[in-house]
């Protein structure tokens, strides 16, 4: 299980390939892997977005991403997980997040990858500030307050 918060651009598919080589040296160790890559769009709520700054709570971010991955690993008997998330200045097209899950069978990998991503969005302390022609604005979440628990997710 690896969690990494980066303040510089990363290439998700190269990271994925390198991680797989590192963690699964013996061929045939897993039967399925599922990955998700989220990147920055140049449009939000009808406005062109030219850049974005991602802030986080150092320490709490890593702690919560690790907790989310540990929960998913136990629940779906995963073999490994990888989460990489950008902070700092992000430009349109830049990858923001990579989530990957390895398991024996496809159902667990698909489900766990999605679950980790949804939990990350609702629990990990990241905030986005967009720059548009109208100035800078913090991206708001529509659902207020209380973070969901893993148990309440399904």
């Amino acid at each position: 299980m690896t969690v990494s918060v980066r303040d510089a651009p990363f290439e998700p598919y190269a990271e994925l390939a390198a991680y797989e080589r590192l963690r699964f040296a013996r061929p045939g160790q897993f039967g399925a892997s599922a990955s998700f890559v989220g990147s920055m769009r140049d449009l939000n709520e009808g406005d062109a977005v030219t850049r974005m700054t991602l802030e986080h709570y150092p320490g709490m971010t890593e702690r919560h991403l690790e907790a989310i991955c540990a929960e998913a690993t136990a629940r779906w008997s995963l073999l490994d997980t990888l989460v990489i998330h950008r902070v700092g200045l992000v430009l349109p097209g830049d990858p923001i997040v990579l989530v990957a899950a390895w398991s024996a069978h496809r159902a667990e990998a698909f489900t766990a990858c999605r679950h980790i991503m949804e939990d990350l969005k609702s629990r990990a302390p990241f905030w986005k500030k967009e720059t548009t022609a109208h100035g800078d604005r913090w991206v708001a979440r529509n659902t207020p307050g209380v973070p969901r628990t893993a148990a309440a997710d399904e």
Partner: protein, 85 residues
């Protein structure tokens, strides 16, 4: 008070920008809660429902009672992940 007994208070994102500070150390007082810290530092009468809080980097309720040396974080609803609003 001693240095180790102080409470560390952190604000993030829009909360920090609006108030012009990100981190403070305040005196610990027995029985003080997370909401007490918010009210004491902002002059507001209650912790707004849209402000999330954490003690020692774990989400907590507003009425959580603090211990000497605790770190309290206040922040808006989180917006990590891909950029889809």
């Amino acid at each position: 008070m001693s240095g180790t007994a102080a409470i560390s208070v952190k604000l993030f994102a829009g909360l920090a920008e609006a108030r012009g500070w990100r981190e403070r150390r305040i005196d610990y007082a027995p029985g003080m809660t997370v909401a007490d810290v918010w009210c004491g530092q902002t002059g507001e009468s209650a912790l707004p429902p849209r402000v999330l809080c954490a003690v020692n980097m774990d989400y907590c309720a507003a009425d959580t009672v603090l211990a000497p040396g605790d770190e309290v974080g206040f922040f808006p609803p989180v917006t990590g992940g891909q950029h889809d609003g």
